[in-house]
């Protein structure tokens, strides 16, 4: 999204990130080349303890269980999934708010999971977070100016006078009056607070911004303001986003690529366009089909895939494919045994389209896949009935656009999961 020139210029500014100061990057690719972020086999387990005096570890919540992806400079990767799938934990482990149990997180070539406190602090300047709840994430006893200036103070950037000036700039950048610096969080509305959260995240001119459900606490009419702000700032400042959200329509809108998570794993990773046109994992298809579309004509035509039951506990994920307990495709195929016994490989099925399903080829071109994005014809598909209303062929513009379904070439499997 952002041009390379803008980014380069941003890096050259007076207080830009000191690229050379990131310590010895033993053998890793030097800063500036390659992807900004590379996550390899990231695992975060939270121990479950029992006992009051003698605490015993009786198990683990396997919140994130070996996920890998990379993030190019200036790109937005959307991380989508339902509650408990590990998307927020992933975001926090990447900036090391949580200690990863295993795996590597290479930021600009440096593995941040092994950095000491000093090295980590230096790295954190370049990666910032925006949190979900603008009511809980701002200290009510600090002024907006104090909140935005705090990262500058922690990292000892500039003189007090310069910081004040910087706060005014940042407020203007996020569309607030510079004079609001002296006001307290309770004087602002939710949308304005989230703008302050964005300004704070930008204070240190980060390269990477991890936005964890940044709009889901906001009213509908305010959400678009923040989405547009984030998009515009990305273009201007060359930011790279990891955008975490449960809402597929929002993720799709803002992301270049999307990773779908289920029970601690990435089950599908593809470009935003491919994921919405031709989702290949049965869970992605179900997730997409469950998103309501504000158009009754489309809704009447669509058939939802209603998944049975709830997400299993991440403390005891099902063996084999983690989705097999709820999978509509497995049922259709007569419950093949490998779904229950073999953990599917995360494999490439098309260019830049990876999926972890033994039978992803059966999803491609299926009625469910077409239905999910609201572009199928609705006729005769043996999907769990979700319509109820009569099928209206044609209808709205949603059916328009896109290559004819099922016309995808499936290259031979080969490229496998990186770094494992």
């Amino acid at each position: 999204m952002a041009s390379a020139e803008q980014r380069a210029a941003g890096g050259a500014s007076a207080t830009g990130p000191a690229a050379g100061a990131t310590g010895p990057a033993a053998g890793a690719t030097g800063p500036g080349a390659g992807p900004l972020l590379q996550v390899e086999g990231l695992t975060v387990h939270f121990p479950i303890r029992q006992g009051i005096i003698i605490e015993r570890r009786i198990g683990d919540v396997r919140a994130v269980d070996g996920i890998s992806f990379s993030l190019a400079r200036g790109e937005t990767l959307g991380l989508v999934g339902e509650s408990g799938c590990g998307k927020s934990t992933t975001g926090r482990a990447i900036v090391r708010l949580y200690e990863p149990t295993a795996g590597r997180v290479l930021f600009d070539g440096v593995d941040i999971t092994t950095l000491d406190a000093t090295g980590l602090r230096r790295m954190r300047r370049r990666m910032q977070m925006i949190f979900q709840d603008p009511y809980a994430s701002l200290n009510p006893r600090m002024t907006a100016g104090g909140i935005i200036a705090e990262p500058l103070e922690i990292h000892r950037v500039g003189t007090p006078g310069e910081r004040r000036e910087r706060v005014r700039e940042l407020l203007a950048t996020v569309g607030l009056s510079p004079d609001y610096a002296s006001r307290y969080p309770h004087e602002f509305s939710g949308g304005q607070r989230q703008r302050i959260g964005v300004a704070r995240a930008l204070a240190l001119e980060p390269d990477l911004v991890v936005a964890d459900e940044p709009i889901s606490a906001l009213d509908v009419s305010i959400q678009a303001q923040i989405i547009n702000l984030l998009e515009r700032l990305q273009g201007r400042l060359g930011l790279t986003y990891l955008f975490i959200a449960h809402d597929l329509s929002v993720v799709r809108h803002i992301s270049d690529r999307i990773a779908v998570m289920y029970l601690g794993r990435i089950v599908e990773l593809a470009s935003s366009r491919d994921l919405n046109r031709t989702p290949l994992h049965p869970y992605s298809v179900a997730l997409l089909s469950a998103v309501p579309i504000p158009d009754p004509a489309v809704e009447a035509r669509r058939r939802r895939i209603i998944l049975k039951g709830d997400v299993p506990s991440p403390a005891a994920p099902p063996p084999g494919c983690r989705f097999h307990t709820r999978c509509w495709l497995r049922e259709r195929l007569g419950n093949p045994v490998e779904c229950e016994t073999i953990d599917p490989e995360f494999r490439s099925l098309a260019t830049d389209h990876q999926v972890a399903c033994h039978f992803a080829e059966k999803v491609d071109g299926s009625a469910e896949q077409l239905q999910a994005a609201g572009r199928g014809t609705g006729g005769g598909a043996p999907v769990v009935p979700g319509g109820g209303a009569p099928v209206v062929p044609g209808g709205s513009a949603a059916a328009a656009g896109g290559a004819p379904p099922g016309a995808r070439a499936v290259p031979p499997p080969g490229a496998s999961r990186p770094g494992e």
Partner: protein
């Protein structure tokens, strides 16, 4: 005669910080078996309207200060406390957003369901229990007999909401009011619950009022929609008609401010500027005027009434032929509604007359949001942004994003 008729309902809350004008003259009707959506943002009065209908407003702050509610031939405002309690649950049932707070955490599901059934029906314990099992099975809870012995915390969010639906429909009510029933749930669980809600209301002929902020949810679930803003119904139409011809600037704004999962690539969002008004001091004119891209000068001073989109047509209040009503002095044309912006040449929204409440400054708790602030704020958002250095110390590119929603 309609099953439910609400006429000119006015609800206020008296608080230490002033009177909140929660509902300001809302009228609508509902036929038996009809499914109506109430759409709007938090604080628009959609929940309060329904709490007022079943007389569950928090006391003593919440008061019905005007209007009439008739249900099945009865005047609900005139019923005494015992009668209205009997009516609730038996004739009108409700389910709320958070099923955890609607269920008693220290009682088993069995105790709660049996109590509900016995409160309204003269049946023995065994019979009530059998009915409870049957209901849990209807809403798709496996091993219902064993699950009855569980406490609410042993159920997941989606299952708790199923239990609530089972309890709500236990007594075959004529009307079910569902207030954001799926907002706390994940999207795949939302799909399950909505499906169930539709199936059960359809098969039993129960009328449904579905309250939500999500236009996608009402699109697939309802036959008619009321769009509410600041305690007013601003647009009212059959569901298909509303989405085909959205005609109030607020409805148009809502539709353009949410991304659609089936949108075309590169589709931009057009946010609604500003934020909802302070319900303690509503503007004198149209409540939406300060945020409206179509506002005229009169919008600042004169609150438009709800009237037919096609002037002079008779008003039909219910059914598939219900009239399309809007409260707007200057409705967007169909082309403008499709593009999300006023497109008529030379039009710009009328500036606020001097002295009106400053919409862009922070909340006015003791902070005078004067006109100087307003000017500053507008400059900060709309002004020559290139004057400010960017966060990275770069001069910002001139505002080439002219059509950008944020301006």
């Amino acid at each position: 005669m309609a099953l439910l008729s609400v006429e000119d309902l006015v609800v206020r809350f008296r608080t230490h910080e002033g009177t909140i004008h929660a509902v300001n003259g809302v009228s609508f009707e509902l036929e038996e078996g009809e499914r109506l959506g109430l759409v709007g943002e938090s604080g628009c009065g959609k929940s309060v309207t329904n709490l007022a209908i079943i007389r569950l407003l928090p006391k003593p702050a919440g008061r019905i200060e005007g209007g009439r509610v008739r249900f099945d031939g009865q005047d609900l405002m005139a019923l005494d406390e015992a009668d209205i309690r009997d009516l609730r649950g038996r004739e009108i049932a409700m389910i709320f957003q958070d099923p955890m707070t609607s269920l008693n955490p220290v009682l088993t599901i069995e105790e709660q369901m049996v109590e509900t059934i016995q409160a309204h029906r003269k049946v023995g314990r065994d019979e009530a229990r059998a009915r409870a099992i049957e209901l849990l099975e209807t809403v798709g809870i496996a091993q219902a007999a064993e699950r009855l012995r569980n406490f609410p915390h042993q159920f997941s969010g989606g299952m708790r909401q199923r239990v609530m639906i089972a309890m709500a429909l236990a007594l075959h009510p004529k009307l079910l009011i569902a207030d954001e029933p799926t907002t706390a749930l994940d999207v795949t669980i939302q799909a399950q619950v909505l499906e169930l809600l539709r199936e059960l209301t359809e098969s039993s002929g129960t009328a449904l009022i579905l309250i939500t902020h999500d236009l996608g949810v009402v699109a697939g679930m309802t036959q008619r929609i009321n769009v509410m803003y600041a305690g007013y119904v601003v647009e009212m139409a059959p569901t298909g008609e509303l989405f085909a011809h959205p005609s109030h600037p607020y409805t148009v704004g809502l539709l353009h401010s949410v991304p659609r999962v089936d949108e075309r690539e590169g589709e931009e969002l057009i946010p609604i500027e500003g934020r909802p008004p302070d319900m303690r001091q509503l503007p004198a004119g149209c409540a939406f005027a300060p945020r409206c891209a179509w506002r005229l000068e009169r919008c600042w001073v004169e609150n438009p009434p709800l009237r037919p989109l096609v002037e002079g047509t008779p008003i039909v209040t219910t059914g598939p032929q219900a009239s399309h009503l809007i409260a707007c002095h200057n409705p967007p044309t169909p082309d403008e509604a499709a593009s999300g912006r006023p497109t008529r040449p030379g039009f710009s929204p009328a500036p606020a007359p001097p002295g009106l409440i400053d919409e862009l400054s922070p909340r006015s708790n003791g902070v005078p949001g004067g006109l100087a602030d307003l000017v500053e704020a507008i400059e900060a958002i709309e002004g020559p942004l290139s004057a400010f250095p960017s966060a990275a110390g770069l001069p910002l590119p001139p505002a080439e994003e002219g059509p950008d929603g944020e301006r």
